[in-house]
């Protein structure tokens, strides 16, 4: 994962509340068993016009299709961005498209975790701060770039306009260093083993043996019923 320390970029406003992950990447755009090839599907329902024959045509009204925002790397969004479905594709698609940070008053909690795992910085700022950033950026998107600084947990827009934000220390750390959660936890295998051994004593009922339902007779019963009913 690409570390995130500071980033200055073009900020595109998509300030609507409750932008869900179905909207960020519709299910129909998740065509393959893959984490890649998703940028094209980003915001597909809004980004493309409805054309017969399925050929894609950009909707000129949509913010990311406007020439000034072609190089956008920061998204300014409304409250509860990324609510809904758990699909990590939403984070993958934003990253693949080129986004490095999303600034919103709040995020869907699964999306928030997914973003952090993929080096996409979720920045929580109150609405007035986002409005101020937007006002500055939209006056001249390509030149009025926004600086997002994770080291100092600040976002800077117009001269003198700086907003501090709060992020969980664990998330900040992972993003700053581009850490991989699995690799980090692998260092604790001993702890996991010890926990498991003790837990199995305490909560034996919670443990299953390989491939075996505890009451296979019930499964057989339900299989035979279903065979009968379908004949």
């Amino acid at each position: 994962m690409k570390p995130f320390t500071r980033h200055r970029g073009v900020a595109a406003p998509l300030i609507r509340v409750n932008i869900d992950t179905d909207t960020i990447i519709p299910s129909r755009e998740m065509r393959r068993v893959s984490k890649h090839g998703l940028a094209d599907g980003l915001f597909a329902g809004w980004r493309y016009l409805d054309t017969p024959g399925g050929k894609r045509e950009n909707n000129p009204e949509f913010v990311l299709n406007k020439p000034h925002y072609a190089g956008a790397t920061i998204l300014l969004a409304g409250n509860n961005f990324g609510c809904g479905s758990s699909r990590e594709h939403a984070a993958w698609a934003l990253v693949e498209y080129g986004f490095r940070a999303v600034i919103a008053p709040g995020f869907g909690s699964i999306f928030h975790g997914n973003a952090v795992r993929n080096g996409l910085l979720p920045v929580k700022l109150p609405e007035p701060a986002i409005d101020a950033l937007n006002e500055y950026a939209s006056a001249s998107p390509e030149t009025n770039r926004i600086l997002v600084d994770l080291e100092n947990t600040t976002v800077r827009g117009a001269a003198g306009d700086e907003f501090g934000f709060v992020i969980e220390p664990a998330h900040r750390e992972m993003l700053l260093q581009g850490l991989d959660a699995i690799a980090m936890t692998q260092q604790h295998l001993g702890l996991i083993e010890a926990f498991r051994a003790a837990d199995r004593q305490r909560r034996g009922w919670a443990y299953l043996d390989a491939g075996q339902a505890t009451t296979p007779a019930l499964i057989k019963a339900s299989i035979s019923v279903s065979v009968k009913s379908s004949s």
């Binding site: 299910s27 990590e88 837990d199 505890t214 019930l218 009913s229």
Partner: protein
């Protein structure tokens, strides 16, 4: 110090405090499905990692598999077959139990995890699917995760989690006749907004819980994610223990006794403290239906489509106007007059046997209105079978409903089957987002009873008036 239900489960799974607010939690069960599970298993294989405890991981085919009778690996979704075959291949390689297409245990993951006794009170359970919170109804700590976390849980039987804040939602009093758990959740979300529960582990409690059957509690917890919660959960009671007993993967013999003793003490202590508390007076809830494109866009069935002009919050007002444009509705329209084109009963929210019975009660001996497309998709193959044994399939068919194989089906549009542009659907599902059930399709969320009554009338209808 008095502890909440959540804290008790949390503590019993805490492997280590990793500092910086992060905790390593033991994960008892991982459930997968062919849409996101296939990606997690493939990701794991690419990293040359193994599933650490295949006996605690399960997989189903629910999202992409067709629900038309006579289905196989071919799907209406372009490229869908790859998800199915890859899932089969990767679960076999990993040694994970798969409830495959023609397995009598197949069904929507959150329905069958409960039905098979894979989710149990006091367990931690994750699935790369946001509605995993459904299983909190049994007193499990169950929540939806992304693919990266899923790979972590499979490889290391643990997750790194930042402890969520806690909320109690007290449900007090009695539900009026004909009002359901679905209505309660839509009412709650409409009142406090779709982000009202954001990030919280929400315990539903209060005098209203005891009167709700376990399946209805699943509907409550299912929609906790529509409230943007980390998860929802409910302390197990005797009804829960009865529900769990004898299920295929539930403990037996001595282990069952030990589990039962543990489960009986699994509730919040008196005086336990929550970060936030909300209260719903159940008597205030009427059948509730959505009019817009967020679950918070909901109103009682005797109400009207609201006017964005009256909204004090500007951003919310703009979202309302957009929603009305998408939905093709005008402010002030009476909800129970909106004509519909289609009716859908299914999804992890409302497709269990009790849901189908509630709908069938209303449909029995009646016919749906002319020109309405109506579909019923049982939540699991077992629900389907049990419904057929009771003759419910015949009730649905006689009324004019299609009777399908189990799966997620038209709850969401994957590129194959869907509702069409401007088609207005009354649906027992959980998401009314733009395009959720088909590009341009207009979804109105409601209880199975409301869906059934509306299908008969041809417009959105209060089931208590139509009801048999």
């Amino acid at each position: 110090m008095p502890k909440t239900l959540f804290e008790k489960i949390w503590q019993d799974h805490l492997v280590a405090d990793l500092g910086n607010g992060s905790h390593l939690l033991h994960i008892d069960r991982v459930f997968l499905h062919e849409r996101t599970g296939s990606i997690a298993l493939t990701g794991l294989a690419e990293r040359k990692l193994q599933v650490r405890n295949p006996a605690h991981a399960f997989c189903t085919m629910d999202h992409i598999v067709d629900t038309r009778p006579g289905r196989g690996d071919e799907t209406a979704m372009p490229g869908g077959r790859e998800f199915i075959t890859r899932t089969r291949q990767e679960t076999r390689r990993a040694g994970i139990t798969l409830f495959d297409i023609n397995d009598p245990r197949q069904g929507i993951s959150h329905v069958i995890a409960a039905e098979q006794g894979i989710a149990l009170p006091g367990l931690t359970m994750v699935c790369p699917d946001s509605h995993t919170c459904t299983l909190g109804a049994l007193g499990a700590l169950a929540w939806g995760i992304g693919s990266s976390d899923c790979e972590h849980a499979l490889a290391l039987e643990t997750l790194r989690v930042i402890k969520p804040e806690q909320m109690a939602v007290y449900l007090e009093g009695d539900l009026a006749r004909g009002v359901t758990a679905k209505d309660v959740m839509l009412h709650l979300i409409a009142e406090y907004s779709a982000s009202g529960g954001r990030g919280y582990a929400i315990e539903f409690r209060g005098s209203g819980i005891g009167q709700l059957p376990v399946e209805a509690r699943m509907t409550l917890c299912n929609m906790a994610v529509e409230f943007s919660a980390f998860t929802g959960l409910i302390a197990p009671d005797e009804a829960t223990l009865d529900y769990v007993a004898g299920r295929p993967y539930a403990p037996v013999g001595d282990q069952r006794d030990a589990a039962t003793a543990y489960w009986r003490q699994l509730s919040s202590d008196d005086g336990a403290v929550y970060d936030r508390e909300l209260r719903v007076d159940l008597a205030d809830v009427e059948p509730t239906v959505t009019w817009g494109t967020s679950p918070q866009h909901a109103v009682g069935i005797s109400g009207r489509v609201p006017d964005p002009g009256n909204e004090s919050d500007e951003a919310a007002g703009r979202a309302m106007q957009r929603a009305l444009d998408y939905m093709g509705l005008n402010p002030g329209t009476a909800m129970s007059s909106i004509p519909i084109d289609a009716a859908f009963i299914g999804s992890c929210t409302n497709s269990r046997l009790s849901d189908l019975r509630a709908a069938a009660d209303i449909l029995e001996g009646n016919k749906i209105a002319r020109g309405i497309k109506a579909i019923c998709v049982p939540g699991s193959s077992r629900v389907k079978l049990e419904a057929e044994q009771e003759g419910l399939d015949q009730v649905f068919r006689d009324a004019g409903f299609e009777w399908r194989e189990s799966g997620c089906s038209l709850c969401f549009y994957a590129g194959g089957e869907g509702f069409t542009r401007n088609e207005r659907v009354i649906t027992s599902t959980n998401r009314n987002f733009e395009g959720r059930q088909g590009p341009g399709a207009r979804s109105h969320l409601a209880s199975p009873a409301t869906v059934a009554a509306s299908a008969l009338a041809g417009f959105i209808t209060d089931a208590r008036i139509t009801g048999n």
